[in-house]
């Protein structure tokens, strides 16, 4: 159990630089999720922490020790892989105990720790099977068990749920969260799924193209995205991003629709500034079908293009100045395409980004 620290970590393959000097401090027992689209360098970063990739530049330390030149086996970390990576020729019991056997632990100690892990993960029935005889979910549990028996300084998860079907994924997600609460260890978890990131993380690290875009708690990242990338990546459906211009203290869209600049952002925008107005679907709701926060709001009348009923809510597709926007209707009724509806816009939840840089106007 230890903190992990990355200082200016760079990874280059030949001349291609894939991770551009990232800094990250992970606290003791913290659950940190690296999230981003494929190719953003999140897995590479994780593998550098594990020691499976060389660190081109900068330093990685686990505990207080710089581990750049230590092989994986000396870093005292456990890793759970996307493809489970179980040892096919060993039974579940042997898979679990393998690391301990290599570490020359006593037979009694191995048995005790393996049984303990099996208890936590509900593997007791499966101990004598081989990986080929297990389902995907069971294999993933064994992989996790193999990680916890070693009582490592930190757990590294590399997209552990992406090979599972949707239902199992949700179930295993809960199990991972429970596991972290039981065994209390530093966790670094890589995923491309923002829902996993939101639900599991103490802190989310959003990455793109080898850079860290934002670090924060799930709610910080959700409520205060620093730029349009984070805004569109975190949250489902993605945040509506609508180009507009600031004129006379109002956000003016190219179709003439206007919204007042939210009071808290008033001083941060300048007259004539080209901006991107960000609004989540939850904050664009037909009058009478929203979740009233009682905050600052405005109204827009929009034509419905399409509606997707989900039961408790309906996603409404509309357009603002030619850009697709999604709204949500809570307590839904039937909506016909082409219908014109008046929407409440929760201005206190809206975001404004600079159109040129994509950065939130709240960040300087």
């Amino acid at each position: 159990m230890a903190e992990i620290s990355l200082q200016n970590v760079v990874k280059r393959y030949g001349k291609t630089e894939v991770v551009h000097g990232i800094n990250l401090d992970i606290a003791h027992n913290e659950f940190v999720v690296l999230v981003g689209p494929s190719g953003c360098g999140k897995s590479t970063t994780l593998r550098m922490i594990a020691g499976l990739e060389d660190i081109t530049d900068g330093s990685v330390s686990i505990g207080s020790e710089v581990v750049n030149d230590l092989p994986p086996r000396k870093r005292n970390i456990s890793m759970v892989f996307q493809n489970y990576a179980l040892y096919p020729h060993m039974s579940v019991r042997e898979n679990l105990g393998f690391g301990l056997k290599i570490a020359k632990q006593s037979e009694a100690e191995i048995t005790q720790r393996v049984n303990e892990a099996a208890d936590i993960l509900g593997l007791d029935e499966l101990m004598d099977r081989t990986p080929a005889e297990l389902s995907g979910g069971q294999r993933q549990r064994v992989a996790m068990g193999r990680a916890i028996v070693r009582h490592p300084e930190a757990f590294l998860f590399d997209e552990p749920l992406s090979n599972l079907d949707a239902k199992l994924r949700v179930q295993m997600r809960t199990e991972i969260k429970k596991l972290h609460q039981t065994v209390k260890t530093t966790v670094v978890y890589v995923t491309h799924d923002q829902v996993e990131a939101m639900t599991l993380a103490d802190r989310i690290v959003v990455m793109k193209d080898g850079y860290i875009e934002q670090v924060g708690t799930p709610m910080q990242v959700f409520n205060h995205p620093v730029n349009t990338f984070v805004a569109s990546f975190i949250g489902s459906p993605p945040m509506n991003l609508l180009p507009a211009v600031i004129r006379d203290g109002a956000v003016v869209f190219s179709d003439g629709n206007t919204l007042p600049v939210p009071a808290r952002l008033k001083d941060l925008v300048s007259e004539g500034q080209k901006v991107i107005f960000g609004l989540r679907a939850d904050d664009l709701t037909p009058v009478g079908h929203g979740i009233t926060s009682g905050g600052e709001s405005a109204q827009l009348t929009l034509d419905i293009v399409l509606s997707e009923p989900l039961g408790t809510e309906t996603i409404l597709y509309t357009t603002i100045a030619g850009n697709e926007a999604q709204g949500k209707m809570f307590g839904p009724r039937d909506v016909a395409p082409g219908e014109s509806m008046t929407f409440d816009v929760a201005l206190d939840k809206a975001h404004i980004f600079d159109a040129a840089t994509g950065a939130s106007v709240r960040v300087h």
Binding site: R73, R75, F81, H89, F98
Partner: protein, 305 residues
């Protein structure tokens, strides 16, 4: 008109057999009949130069003779020894080569092709080549040793019992190591990378990763290679016959050189066939052994039952 039954070859029930007939006939004439014939002759005193002896039934006499024949059992033992040494050497060398080639990042294809060169030669030619290499007068090996001052006399490579057997095994290993190398390389290519990385994170050093993960994964490939090669080596004849002819004085006699000598040189075909049937047991035993191992090794791979 009464519904006349079609002739039997047009009835649906017989169609499969009719279609299989060419194959059945071929196997019958090419494999089964000779097999039965040779089995029959092993119970006769058949001599090639006296055809009438084909009808001379001697019962189990040929087999009884084998059991009292010291030369046969020496050849039998030597074949097993030869098989064991050659297979293990080929396995170890092949594994080494495969592991090395697996490591390099370019030129793999070229090396794989080069590696197959020895397999492209007829064993007879390999035999001649090594007969020349090991020849005590004009052989390149003795010449080289003398030129380098490592030896002053002519080493009798193909005459001394130990050296002659060594020379033959050397030729055999030279020719066939690549079978192991290629099969094991295929195994290494097919090997998933994740368990190797998992083992590294689990605390293994390189040797432990190899010992506990790579090697078990390769074992099915090893057993396939062993099965094929054990059949090959158990019937070894050509290299030996060319290099030493089983001599001198039977010092390099293997089962099949002995059987060929008995059958053709001495014309005692009945006796030779009896020996062949006993020898086949050896091949069957090895094949059975390696197949059992193979199935056991493949089970956990989720492959065969």
């Amino acid at each position: 008109m009464a519904n006349k039954r079609p002739p039997f070859w047009q009835r649906e029930k017989y169609t499969p057999y009719l279609l299989l007939l060419p194959a059945i006939l071929t196997i019958l004439f090419v494999v089964l009949l000779p097999l039965i014939f040779s089995l029959y002759t092993s119970f006769t005193g058949y001599r090639l130069i006296r055809p009438e002896t084909l009808w001379q039934w001697v019962g189990l006499r040929n087999y009884q003779r084998i059991f009292n024949d010291g030369d046969f059992w020496v050849a039998f033992g030597r074949t097993i020894l030869f098989l064991t040494i050659a297979l293990n050497l080929e396995f170890l060398l092949g594994l080494g080569i495969a592991l090395l080639i697996n490591k390099i990042t370019w030129g793999q294809r070229t090396l794989r092709t080069i590696m197959m060169f020895p397999m492209m030669f007829s064993p007879i030619l390999v035999g001649y080549q090594f007969k020349f290499v090991f020849n005590d007068n004009i052989g390149i090996l003795n010449n080289a040793l003398q030129a380098l001052g490592l030896s002053d006399g002519a080493i009798p490579w193909l005459v001394d019992e130990f050296l002659a057997n060594f020379a033959i095994i050397f030729a055999e290993v030279w020719m066939s190591t690549s079978v192991f190398a290629i099969l094991l390389l295929a195994g290494l290519f097919a090997m998933p990378r994740d368990p190797l990385e998992a083992a590294k994170v689990d605390g293994c050093n390189s040797w432990q990763v190899f010992r506990h993960i790579t090697l078990p994964f390769l074992m099915p490939f090893v057993f396939i290679a062993m099965t094929i090669r054990s059949l090959d080596v158990a019937r070894a004849y050509d290299i030996v016959d060319v290099m030493t002819g089983g001599g001198p004085a039977g010092r390099t006699e293997l089962l099949w050189t002995l059987i060929a000598r008995t059958g053709y040189d001495n014309a005692r075909m009945g006796q030779a066939n009896a020996m062949a049937y006993v020898s086949i047991l050896l091949s069957i035993a090895f094949t059975y052994y390696f197949f059992t191992k193979l199935l056991a090794a493949r089970k956990y791979m989720g492959g065969a039952e």
